[in-house]
Symmetry: C2
Subunit: 356 residues, 2 copies
Amino acid sequence: MELTDRQKQILRAIVDIYVSTAEPVGSKAIAALPDMKFSSATIRNEMADLTQMGLLEQPHTSAGRIPSPAGYRLYIDELMQDYRLSLDETRSLNEALELKSQEFDKMMSQVGKLVSKMTNLPAYTVATRQSEAVARHFDLIMTAPGSIILVLMLSGDVVKNKLVKLPVQVTEPELKLLAAVLNASLTDLTAEEITGELLDKITRSAGAAAPLVPLVVDFTLECLRQQHGDVHLTGQMRLLGQPEYRDAAEKAQEVFETLDEEMISNLPAVLPKEGPVQFLVGPENVAKELKDTSVVMMRFDIGDGMQGTIGVVGPTRMDYAKITAKLGYFAENLGRMFQKSNPAMPPALSDGESNP
Amino acid sequence: MELTDRQKQILRAIVDIYVSTAEPVGSKAIAALPDMKFSSATIRNEMADLTQMGLLEQPHTSAGRIPSPAGYRLYIDELMQDYRLSLDETRSLNEALELKSQEFDKMMSQVGKLVSKMTNLPAYTVATRQSEAVARHFDLIMTAPGSIILVLMLSGDVVKNKLVKLPVQVTEPELKLLAAVLNASLTDLTAEEITGELLDKITRSAGAAAPLVPLVVDFTLECLRQQHGDVHLTGQMRLLGQPEYRDAAEKAQEVFETLDEEMISNLPAVLPKEGPVQFLVGPENVAKELKDTSVVMMRFDIGDGMQGTIGVVGPTRMDYAKITAKLGYFAENLGRMFQKSNPAMPPALSDGESNP
DNA sequence: ATTAGCACTCAGAAAGAAAGAGTGCTAAGC
DNA sequence: GCTTAGCACTCTTTCTTTCTGAGTGCTAAT
């Protein structure tokens, strides 16, 4: 059953208003809108129809209407109008984007904090591997007699390190030898390509440092098999700024007990559609604790087989258009930053007028 | 004015009860305590005195008493009795302590999560340098033509890395040369010992890779000068589990707006006393937003010039004894783990009764 | 010095009353 | 036949009022 233009217009108006007020919207408020040419009575009739269709809900008889999850979904898929960032908003986004370029993980975490701040909602970031990971470089550095640090560089410019306590005494040259062997034989291989045979060969070539091989290899395999980087979730408290959680601290707590890091990294699996922006609206989340919670996700390109995801968590009544616009801006610029690698530069924009 | 034994006993009882019930404590409840040999009337008199002295407060005339900040302070300093961890508690702490040994930062963050979970309160961890940092090892790894990763190992087994976009074309051997030069001349020096002269010398020796030198050195100096590692703050939401914040989401939000990472790393500066455990009780926090919030901090040894701090954030009415006991257990075992380096092992403890 | 007894206070719960926003329906208008 | 004005009705919200009970502080007795 197709909606008439008028119905669409009304539904859109209801979502728009409800999103910003968090109060049920009455027919009068709609009728008062500048480009609404009908009386409140007509609108009441249409609202009754939309409720019938399951796109609106009524908290109680004498209240206005609020969008149902289906209503939000329709709004997102068809009705939502691009939100244009104001100059002020663009400017503060740009300022924020001046991240210090640093370790990858720290950057991701900083991006999360930024997004959370700019949207005033909890946000997360994850990096996900697109292609099979391979090791690019091994390094073994002795820190004290008996302990070394293993530095492992993977595709995607990911650097991992681990402090290893040595099972045997090893000298510097022996360590160098092992590193050379590892770099010669274990780089550019995916986890599957690292066979037992190969390991035997490496162990034989490793000389005195042979007992170290399994330690190094296990760590390497573990790293190679990791599909996701760390999940950086921040700004949880900002959920409390939303009226629906203001006096429902318990609910807010539940949300983040459910939406832990594991769940977040599995989110893409339950997505209804593909695309760079994705929405999980209220009950589309499987967990019942999240039935009033929505997530907006945006992908961005990191390059070298990695992909980043930024997500924003909020009440079902959230400003999808605005959040999408802001996330989009982030994604675009982050993609650019990461691809060009450092130095990180937000798009050139002389932050006043530019001279002729 | 010294307290009588009976007054001490009553004050201690009030804190103990209030801490666990979060309700004002009446004279009757105290009198009902097994080892309380006096009638409620007597206790009422003593309570009036204690109130006079500023150690107790009365939310309103017809309510019981609650400890004042000064009361808590006295309790902490003199009255608090060691909380004995139950076998169950020890066991779950031990289970929790089986951290996967991994990157330092990740471990610290995991410790924070753990402490937060075990105390059911927000927690943070920081690593602080005790002695001057020096670089231990440099590594330059080419990831793609035009970009390299700089891996820097510092004292304290801290590994930093940074993706560097090259200003000039450099070949592998040139990179190797630079790394060798850096390792030869820049290691084991504190930030102050790295002089302009020295840098000139390095630049001259660096050959084609000379333009890279300032990039590397700047990053190195930045790392060396960092007094604190990252602050890992987690479990903020758990503050909402506390009755005083249950219906005061706003207050909880304020707490963490104020208690940001910067403030946390400066906390030690405002401490009233020295020692491995430290308490910041309610209004002893300078920020007025934190006047109902306490922090318990515990130091632990990491070795190699580094020191860790675990902190727990809670309402002023928090179970100082229990938290202290748990933190102490963590600190002790973490200290042991970090010093021995990996593999991380919680103390051997046959998790039942030990045989004679 | 301690305690029983009692009048008094005051927050919080429960119950009732009033206000107001918004609906659905009916009947009139274009 | 679609649209709209009018109106009775519903139901939340808010404000009062009343009631209850825990707890105190004081006085007088032990």
